[in-house]
């Protein structure tokens, strides 16, 4: 009961969120303003607050925290424009990671059109491949090829295989290409086996 009342108070007055107390007063006021503006246009506030808290925990200067939160708010808006207003907060966060990795908004939109939601994992795998050293266009092309049929687990296994190959010394582009071929063949075989009346 008390918790519910507290949550209601916080929901009605976001500036009362106790998490803001970990920011210095000047930074807090500026972060609250950015979060409020984002909320007005329908963007999720938690990713913004988390980024501010990360900065505070890592003893970053207020200016740097505000810049990071402002940049994230802008990128969440770009991701929302690309993924549509039905995108979940998790999809938007993964979309931001993919955009920052070098994927274009058009790639995000194409991924949304190709794959049944949620597409969080597909976006995350794209971003994670780039973080592993795979060129952004190769990572995007690979994920777009796998997106229509691969399960999330298939995408994660694909990413791990590429990362293993890179760790063992393979060029990232070559690792992506080879593993993409193997994964696609595996998916084709799975689809054939699942088809009734197969020869």
């Amino acid at each position: 009961m008390i918790l519910t009342a507290l949550l209601l108070v916080i929901a009605q007055n976001p500036a009362q969120d106790p998490r803001y107390e970990r920011l210095d007063p000047d930074t807090r006021a500026r972060v609250v303003a950015i979060v409020d503006s984002a909320r007005v246009v329908g963007l999720p506030s938690d990713p913004l607050i988390h980024r501010a808290l990360e900065g505070a925990m890592k003893n970053a200067a207020g200016e740097r925290i505000v810049a990071a939160v402002r940049r994230l708010a802008g990128d969440l808006g770009t991701a929302r424009d690309a993924l549509g207003s039905n995108a979940t907060p998790a999809e938007l966060e993964a979309g931001v990671a993919a955009l920052r990795a070098g994927a274009t908004p058009a790639t995000l939109t194409r991924l949304r059109d190709l794959r049944k939601p949620p597409i969080t994992m597909a976006l995350a795998v794209l971003a994670d491949l780039v973080a592993s050293g795979v060129p952004a266009d190769s990572a995007a092309a690979a994920v777009l090829v796998l997106a229509p049929t691969a399960r999330d687990a298939d995408l994660v296994e694909f990413r791990r295989a590429v990362e293993r190959d890179i760790a063992l010394g393979a060029p990232p582009d070559a690792a992506t290409s080879v593993r993409l071929g193997a994964t696609s063949m595996g998916l084709d075989a799975t689809a054939r086996n699942a088809r009734p009346g197969k020869p």
Partner: protein, 166 residues
């Protein structure tokens, strides 16, 4: 007791009576047929399941929905184990988006061989996190993808949790 001739007469009369065509009052016939035709008070409505089956069906649907819990599909947390090898560390905390970057909320426990570990439930989503060693040193998770954008000058990692059934 009857005489034999009397007995034969009686049997003869009974047989004649039974063989006579039955005549039913037409008004009675019409009343019975109209009762059968009425859905609410007719014979059909008197069957015991006629009024109960919609409730049984509703109860079955409700039970199925409660068991399947479609509203929670894809949002229930999965338990994740985080491990860091840090033999020289006196303390290690796991901090990230999932605990509001609060080191007091996820202290890690020392295991054998210099391993530090903790298990936390994570709902579907993408989370940034890092290990805080001895309260001062930030370390990324060597077993997880790196967060590409370290805007605060220290490394972080990311974990992505897929929704169930995806």
């Amino acid at each position: 007791m009857f005489e034999r001739q009397d007995e034969e007469d009686i049997v003869e009369r009974v047989i004649r009576e039974l063989r006579r065509p039955a005549s039913i009052d037409r008004a009675l016939d019409a009343r019975v047929m109209s009762e059968i035709a009425r859905p609410e008070t007719g014979l059909v409505a008197r069957r015991p399941f006629a009024r109960v089956w919609p409730w049984l069906a509703a109860a079955a649907v409700l039970t199925a929905v409660v068991i399947a819990r479609p509203w929670s599909r894809g949002t229930r947390p999965d338990a994740f184990q985080f491990v860091l090898v840090a033999p020289q560390a006196a303390s290690v905390a796991l901090v990230g988006d999932f605990n509001d970057w609060d080191p007091t909320r996820a202290p890690m426990h020392a295991a054998r061989g210099g391993l530090w570990a903790t298990v936390i439930p994570l709902p579907p989503g993408r989370y940034r996190y890092a290990f805080l060693v001895n309260g001062v040193e930030w370390r990324a998770d060597p077993g997880a993808p790196a967060a590409g954008d370290d805007e605060f000058g220290t490394p972080s990692s990311v974990v992505t949790v897929a929704g169930r059934g995806s």
